[in-house]
């Protein structure tokens, strides 16, 4: 809980910095604030609590995901100082990011449907603005508008679902709903079924699972690259943490209602994401589709519904976020200095900058799920959890999907080593160098010693 208070205070400090005139100090203040919240969050480990009349629950699951998201946000803040140098919007950007982070915190600690809704809204409203924060760019405005329209639609579904379930069970409390569903044999109630499915649609939208993924490529491509990086790592992790908590803690008594649908969503997401990514020539858009396909794999963890499911989801989210943030940091560097985010601009990178190409290699291998990187174990862990629950066919599709994935991730790798290059040297400053080294080493370390994180929760 302290974590949430620290972050909220941080958000307010950001807003007031403009008036009180310490804008220049804001970047370090935010970093210190994030570190402080990381520490207070860690203090909750094995120290769970139910707060505010069963509105909020803090357990190891939430601590782990909150730690991951704060950590990724910290890395993110380090890698995107350029984004904040525009004097006009500096304070707003910082405040919005911190508020978005608060939204994600609420999304993993909810014990009540209302809190889930609040969390998603706090997060989404901040994101709508951030997606459009390149005010002069048409594509950024388009992204914001698209995201806003589609996002509000999804929110509508979510509220409708909550209302229907409230109607059937008379409660917003997850535990109460869960026991109502399992004890009173309400499984067949039309309101319950419709409510669960509507909430599933809303969450599938938030995690950009097919067929609710159409917003993702345009929004990801149109939004400023740093915001895309935030959306495809922290936001996605939060959405999955919420998805998992809602469906496993509340609706697990009646998987027959939602599991078949979710199974189709998962398979479809994996295939659509991977196959479409093959045809992309723009690196950013390719990452958008790759992020869609990864959503498909993570849905497998929700379907698995067993002991290792939550820790496999956590592991996957970590591996994916680390590699993804690395890829976006590389894209930032490359597109900033070549002026384009096409795959072409990676040509010949190996010769100009061996360090950058080595970290790109690790990030791509990890996203493709190839040893000895974190992505490999993450995929394996999640697949084996799903097989345990009898989803062999779906795992076969997932494996097929990762094969297709190999094709487009490898295309980047080959581009790195192409001889024709645009003679433009890409410079990496020390901060980025350290940052990329740390994330790449983390990806390798998790691939070589996965025991560090697996089985944690």
């Amino acid at each position: 809980m302290t974590t949430l208070i620290v972050l909220s205070a941080l958000g307010l400090v950001c807003l007031f910095s403009e008036i009180l005139g310490f804008r220049k100090l804001l970047h370090p203040i935010v970093l210190i604030g994030l570190l402080a919240s990381f520490v207070t969050n860690l203090m909750d480990w094995n120290n769970g609590a139910h707060l505010f009349n069963e509105m909020v629950v803090i357990d190891n699951y939430s601590v782990a995901f909150m730690g991951l998201m704060i950590g990724i946000t910290f890395i993110w803040c380090l890698m995107s100082p350029d984004f904040f140098t525009e004097p006009s919007s500096e304070t707003d950007h910082f405040a919005l990011i911190v508020f978005a982070l608060i939204g994600t915190m609420v999304m993993v600690t909810f014990a009540n449907m209302i809190m889930l809704f609040l969390g998603i809204e706090i997060l989404s409203i901040a994101l709508y603005i951030l997606a459009g924060s390149h005010k002069t760019k048409l594509s950024s405005n388009e992204a914001a508008l698209k995201y806003f329209l589609m996002g509000s639609f999804a929110t509508g579904f979510l509220l409708f679902g909550i209302a229907l379930i409230y109607g059937a069970t008379g409660s917003f409390n997850l535990a109460a709903i869960s026991s109502m569903i399992s004890e009173h044999h309400e499984q067949n109630s039309v309101m319950i079924v419709a409510g669960i499915l509507m909430m599933m649609i809303a969450l599938a939208f938030k995690v950009s699972a097919a067929p609710f993924h159409f917003w993702a490529p345009d929004v990801y491509q149109g939004a400023p690259t740093v915001i895309t990086a935030f959306m495809s790592t922290v936001v996605k992790t939060a959405a999955f943490a919420a998805f998992y908590r809602l469906f496993i803690h509340t609706f697990s008594a009646s998987p027959a209602i939602w599991a078949p649908t979710l199974m189709i969503i998962s398979g479809l997401t994996i295939l659509v994401g991977n196959i479409t990514a093959v045809y992309q020539t723009n690196f950013k858009r390719m990452l958008a589709y790759s992020s869609i396909s990864h959503a498909g794999y993570m849905v497998l963890a929700i379907l698995a519904m067993n002991q290792s499911a939550s820790s496999s989801l956590m592991f996957y989210a970590t591996a994916y976020s680390i590699s993804s943030i690395t890829a976006f940091a590389i894209l930032l560097l490359v597109s900033h200095q070549t002026g384009s985010d096409e795959i072409r601009s990676f040509n010949g990178l190996a010769k100009q900058n061996p360090f950058l190409s080595a970290v790109t290699l690790v990030a791509m291998l990890s996203l493709a799920g190839i040893p000895p990187t974190a992505g490999f174990f993450a995929k394996y862990y999640i697949f084996s959890a799903a097989i345990q629950n009898g989803y062999l066919g779906l795992v076969l599709i997932a494996i097929l999907g990762s094969l297709i994935g190999v094709f487009y991730y490898f295309r980047i790798i080959i581009a790195l080593f192409k001889s024709e290059s645009e003679e433009k040297e890409i410079k990496v400053n020390t901060l980025f160098r350290v940052l990329l080294l740390v994330t790449s080493l983390a990806a390798l370390a998790l691939g070589i010693a996965p025991g560090m994180l697996a089985g944690l929760i």
Binding site: S311, P371, Y380, F383, F410, I413, F417, G451
Partner: protein
């Protein structure tokens, strides 16, 4: 301990290469792979002396450490005679591969780095007794190949690299499914030793055996999944071709034998007819396809399909002699084909052509290289005195032991492919080495350098050592093959 060093040494070499200046790269790579070769010989010696004092445990030098406890994954290492033979093969080929790549100028450091990492994957694969670990190393060995072909290759290299990587990844995905199937049907074990005593239900075996066998089969060019071989080999740089044909294809053969057949004997029996059929098709189709080729690398690539068919044939026949023959063929073909590719690489570097019709009379200015090429050819067509003869003969004898008309016909057909082999080998060597010099520019070309000579001598000594004294290799591998055979015959007795 020796086994851990066997994986650690290449990784250490790779690390040193990465950190040291480009000038020293070649030296370090040579020293590293040379040390590795010595280490493998030490391993052989230790292994033999352990066996001599009567240590009859199925796997020696076992070490077991927990790696990922949540999923029961262990770092379980251990070797039997078959693995030792494969490790020796790998060490020979890697050392020779490093030597023939002496002149690589483009991104030298990265080239040797990948070569050494690739070898680490292969070593790890051969010493793993944990299926997950085995799979891990199998995947590790694929990526460097992709890069080696895609970056340093020639011709349509990107197409070939993609094709190879996707097919091999596809193969390993099938392997993963098979391994997971065994894991869940055995109550959660990846341990090869445990699984070999655990009786996996027959219906489960029948489902997952094809996944494993075809998955590994892709690596060893099982028909109809052999199409990566010609493209991959022809585009790859010399050392990568040597690795691909010499080691990579053996990963598949070893996996088919050690994992698929050893752990699922009933299903292996059940499917043996199909295996033999596919192997026979690969042998004959490969041989005839080779006859049509005009490019030396394609000739060797297609002939590899044919020769690796013998490995699968030996496994499919499931008699003790045939399985031993399959292992011998893996070692023999690995050395022979590496030598062949090395010789082709040396010729190409000088003449800049690989088309048989453009070459001719090379024996006059390049006696050493031509002789090497000729020896590789003779080994390939199975001349007594070289390893090819020993291996193929063992496979044929073993295959004939399997009763049944179908198996006899397959054996006879496979035997007849030897004639076709002789035709294409003699034609290719004759046209390119003998006769008048066709191209005047060839007259000033130089013969092999010290590094190339050393590489050739290392490989030839391996080939001759097996060809002249086959018994040591036979004695080395036969306890291992016997264990596999016993596993198979135990099932036959039960029925």
């Amino acid at each position: 301990m020796v086994l851990t060093i066997l994986v650690a040494l290449p990784l250490l070499t790779a690390l040193i290469i990465a950190l040291s200046p480009v000038k020293l790269t070649r030296m370090i790579a040579m020293l590293g792979s040379g040390l590795q070769l010595i280490l493998s010989l030490v391993l052989l010696q230790n292994f033999l002396s352990e066996r001599n004092v009567g240590n009859n445990a199925p796997f020696l030098f076992e070490s077991n450490a927990s790696w990922f406890p949540a999923l029961h994954i262990n770092f379980h290492l251990g070797v039997d005679g078959i693995s030792v033979a494969m490790i020796l093969l790998t060490a020979f080929v890697v050392f020779a591969g490093v030597l023939v790549s002496w002149k690589v100028e483009k991104m030298t450091k990265e080239f040797f780095l990948l070569l050494i990492i690739l070898s680490a994957g292969a070593y790890g694969f051969f010493i793993s007794l944990d299926l997950f670990l085995l799979f891990f190393f199998l995947e590790v060995a694929v990526i460097p190949k992709y890069l080696l072909i895609g970056i340093w290759g020639s011709g349509k290299k990107e197409y070939s690299a993609n094709k190879l990587a996707l097919m091999l990844m596809g193969g390993s995905a099938l392997v993963l499914v098979g391994i997971l199937g065994m894991y869940f049907s055995s109550g959660g074990s990846f341990d090869l030793v445990n699984l070999s005593t655990f009786h996996i239900p027959e219906y489960v075996q029948k489902i997952f055996f094809p996944f494993l066998f075809i998955g590994f089969g892709v690596f060893t060019a099982i028909f109809p999944f052999h199409t990566w071989v010609p493209d991959g080999h022809s585009s790859a740089p010399t050392a990568a071709s040597m690795f691909l044909a010499g080691i990579s294809m053996k990963l598949g053969g070893y996996g088919c034998l050690r994992v698929a057949t050893y752990l699922m004997p009933e299903a292996a029996h059940y499917y043996s007819g199909y295996i033999v059929l596919l192997a026979a098709i690969a042998i004959i189709y490969g041989a005839f396809a080779t006859m049509m080729q005009t490019d030396l690398k394609y000739i060797n690539a297609y002939s590899s399909v044919s020769h690796c068919g013998f490995v699968l044939l030996g496994i499919g026949m499931m008699t003790k002699t045939a399985i031993t023959g399959a292992v011998l063929q893996m070692v023999s073909h690995g050395l022979m084909t590496a030598l062949f590719f090395a010789a082709i690489g040396m010729l190409y570097e000088r003449t800049h052509t690989r088309a048989v019709k453009d070459l001719g009379g090379l024996m006059k200015m390049m006696p050493f290289i031509s002789t090497v090429f000729f020896i590789a050819g003779l080994c390939s067509l199975g001349l007594p005195g070289f390893s090819g003869f020993v291996a193929e003969m063992t496979v044929f004898v073993g295959s004939w032991e399997r009763s049944g008309l179908f198996y006899h016909v397959a054996t006879i057909l496979a035997c007849m492919s030897i004639v076709v082999t002789a035709v294409y080998i003699l034609r290719a060597t004759g046209q390119s080495l003998m006769g008048p010099v066709k191209n005047e520019n060839f007259n000033g070309l130089s013969d092999a350098q010290w590094n190339e000579k050393l590489a050739a001598v290392v490989l030839i000594s391996g080939i001759v050592a097996i060809g002249v004294m086959p018994f040591w290799l036979n004695d080395l591998v036969s306890p291992g093959t016997e264990a596999i055979y016993n596993q198979l015959s135990r099932i036959a007795l039960l029925k």
